[in-house]
């Protein structure tokens, strides 16, 4: 292993180091406020390393294929398990931004814990390590183990409370996570049996040799692909693999839910896109249909069930399922072609997924940070207890309203642009029916998002007690809110970044 190899894997390595140091620091410092401060300052290192890698990419597609990596005539030992391209870097930046914001918003929650404060931040950082690795993993074994590293810390974080709801959330997440991993692993084993390789490009060339798409003759490949889709379905919380979502959103600590709902979803979508576009594009027309059906079911189930929720966190659980559906529309839209035939790559599809994930991350984090502050003061997550919030906490109510309007997708917000992009991609990819289902669902979703706004503005408050906000929450809400508004008013930068990222994705048609 050369020094260059270390440089290639340095961003996740640096995040893991910060995580370990935070846990150790917890043992020696008395002022626990130093822990999040250290974690945030520490996250500057991986950010700078990502920037350096972005600069070094230059004209090469993958950092591991650059002249420096191929120096001395021998290839890097990391070649084959990782890809460091602009697609991976896009998600690296997204995950780091979400992690930093979640740490900032967790400060108040963690301060109320008497012990194990360092472990909280450490686990968040370990999970972020897994997510950054996941975005650049290009081989099935690495993908699997990175997914475990992403999920396992969140299990422990979900059970951080002493309440029975929190323990239940942790337990459910552990068992469901283990089952979904097992299903995915079985699928990967079948794919390995069929292709004799775990490398995605190797799989792609084997898949290209098969004729007739995912037909009955290569049932092993078909079963493998379906099982992998099911495994990813759990991770991105799409229907019909969604039953764990509302319970965990209700039981786990709110900052953890915020982290789970955006960062882990973004990383899972990153690896989903890489696996299916790089590895299985040869049979793209077949899984494209599968994704389209999952998208339609997910949107519909999420939105319909969300309408009857009275707990705001459960509501956001169903909202997350619905948004997973919208994002899957973009994944399905990237392939054009009928079943069994060769598929054509429609780059607008994955482009729109990347932009949607960016917009959703900002909007959902903003909403959740407001819920964290309100919930920690009122001690309740019932929507009815948000009555008159505009008088008790005007700034929070307005920020939450902005986030909710964005989540509906009303112009000129970020998710409006994202949805427009996704549905345009669907039409271009020959899935006009899916775009129609999506638009109808967006209209339906307005009902339950706007209900919260109505309760906050029109109903009288039960008490006049103001809801105070700590400086760290202020910064977190301001930063994520600003990102949300920025992507709505001037989406150009993120749109361009998504295009650049997808352009380097190796798609083997």
């Amino acid at each position: 292993m050369s020094l260059y190899d270390i440089y290639v894997i340095s961003p996740p390595l640096a995040i893991a180091m910060v995580g370990i140091l935070v846990i150790l620091l917890d043992l020696v410092v008395q002022r626990k406020r130093a822990l999040p401060a250290f974690a945030l300052v520490g996250l500057i290192v991986p950010t700078l390393l990502l920037v350096a890698q972005f600069q070094d990419l230059g004209n090469t597609r993958d950092l591991l294929e650059s002249p420096a990596a191929m120096g001395n005539g021998k290839a890097s030992v990391l070649l084959g398990s990782l890809v460091v391209d602009r697609f991976a870097l896009f998600f690296g930046f997204l995950v780091l931004a979400a992690t930093a914001l979640v740490i900032l918003a967790s400060v108040d929650y963690v301060e109320r814990l008497e012990r194990r404060q360092g472990e909280y931040y450490g686990l968040v950082l370990f999970s972020a390590t897994g997510m950054v690795l996941l975005a650049s993993a290009s081989e099935l074994v690495t993908i699997y183990i990175s997914l475990e590293l992403t999920t396992l810390p969140i299990v422990a974080l979900a059970a951080f409370h002493t309440s029975s709801k929190s323990s239940e959330a942790g337990m459910k997440f552990l068992i469901i996570g283990a089952i979904s991993s097992a299903v995915m692993l079985y699928g990967m084993a079948l794919v390995f049996g069929f292709t004799q390789t775990t490398d995605l490009t190797g799989i792609a060339s084997k898949v290209a040799e098969t004729t007739g798409g995912l037909s009955f003759e290569n049932l092993a490949l078909l079963t493998g692909v379906v099982l992998i889709v099911a495994g990813f379905g759990f991770k991105i919380s799409s229907a019909p693999f969604q039953m764990w979502v509302p319970d965990i959103y209700e039981g786990a600590p709110t900052p953890v839910v915020a982290f789970l709902s955006v960062a882990s979803k973004a990383a899972a979508f990153a690896v989903l896109i890489r696996v299916f576009y790089t590895g299985f594009f040869g049979v793209g027309a077949d899984w494209g249909v599968l994704m389209a059906i999952l998208a339609a079911v997910s949107m519909t189930v999420g939105n319909l069930v969300a309408m009857s929720q009275s707990n705001i966190r459960r509501l956001f659980g169903y909202s997350a399922i619905a948004h997973a559906g919208y994002i899957l529309v973009g994944v399905a839209a990237g392939v054009e072609g009928s079943s069994g035939g060769t598929a054509a790559f429609v780059s607008v599809g994955p482009n729109s997924v990347l932009f949607y994930l960016g917009a959703y991350t900002a909007a959902n984090l903003t909403a959740f940070f407001a819920i964290v502050v309100i919930g920690s003061r009122t001690g309740s997550d019932q929507i009815d207890d948000y009555a008159g919030m505009v008088q008790r906490a005007p700034v929070l109510a307005i920020v939450l309203t902005l986030a909710l309007i964005a989540l509906v997708g009303v112009p000129p917000t970020s998710i409006f642009i994202a949805k427009l992009y996704v549905f345009t991609a669907a039409v271009k990819g020959g899935l006009a029916w899916l775009a129609i289902v999506g638009v109808i669902n967006s209209v339906v979703s307005a009902y339950y998002y706007l209900r919260i706004i109505r309760v906050m503005f029109l109903q009288p408050p039960p008490s006049d007690e103001r809801i105070p906000m700590s400086p760290s929450s202020w910064v977190a809400i301001a930063a994520s809110g600003a990102a949300m508004v920025w992507m709505g008013v001037a989406p150009g930068f993120v749109l361009r970044a998504a295009e650049i990222a997808v352009a380097t994705l190796a798609v083997q048609t």
């Binding site: 990391l78 183990i145 079948l190 069929f194 003759e217 049932l219 079963t223």
Partner: protein, 162 residues
């Protein structure tokens, strides 16, 4: 000869597997699992994967079953004879048989090249583990660290309540 051995081991594996789900006593279920796992180690031996067989016996037959039994005995012991009394077993049976049919069919129908039985040199295995597979190997150690920290957090949570 190897066919006879294979069928013998396969039957033992299956009997163990049925025992896990059919018995009502959790301790008996864990012991049936041990039978099943050891028979799988035997199947690895027929395939000349002696290292895999060794690992299977050491880790699954030894460590995992012991941990499982400890976990059962450390939790409330008065409940465990009845605890696997599952009313949803007909649905589970249908799902399991369906999955078995699909998986069996996918092995049966698909053409795949099968490599002959050969024993990988242990040196090569070690070499590739630290070169080609260095990243997943190192990430696995981080996963173990997380599991340790998580276990401590969850165990300590119980202590706070009591």
């Amino acid at each position: 000869m190897s066919w006879v051995l294979f069928i013998l081991l396969a039957v033992v594996t299956l009997v163990g597997g049925v025992g896990v789900v059919a018995t009502r006593n959790v301790v008996h279920a864990a012991l049936s699992l041990l039978v099943s796992l050891l028979a799988v180690a035997g199947i690895y031996l027929i395939l000349f994967a002696e290292f895999l067989a060794l690992v299977q016996v050491l880790i699954y037959g030894g460590a995992i079953i012991i941990v499982l039994l400890f976990a059962i005995m450390l939790t409330r012991s008065s409940e465990y004879p009845r605890i696997s009394d599952n009313r949803q077993w007909p649905i589970g049976l249908v799902a399991a048989v369906g999955l078995l049919a699909v998986l069996a069919a996918s092995f049966w129908i698909s053409q795949h090249q099968s490599a002959g039985p050969e024993s990988p040199a242990l040196g090569n295995l070690a070499n590739s583990l630290f070169t080609r597979w260095a990243i997943p190997f190192e990430v696995a150690s981080l996963v173990l660290l997380v599991a340790l920290i998580g276990a401590i957090i969850i165990a300590r949570t119980g202590e706070d309540e009591g």
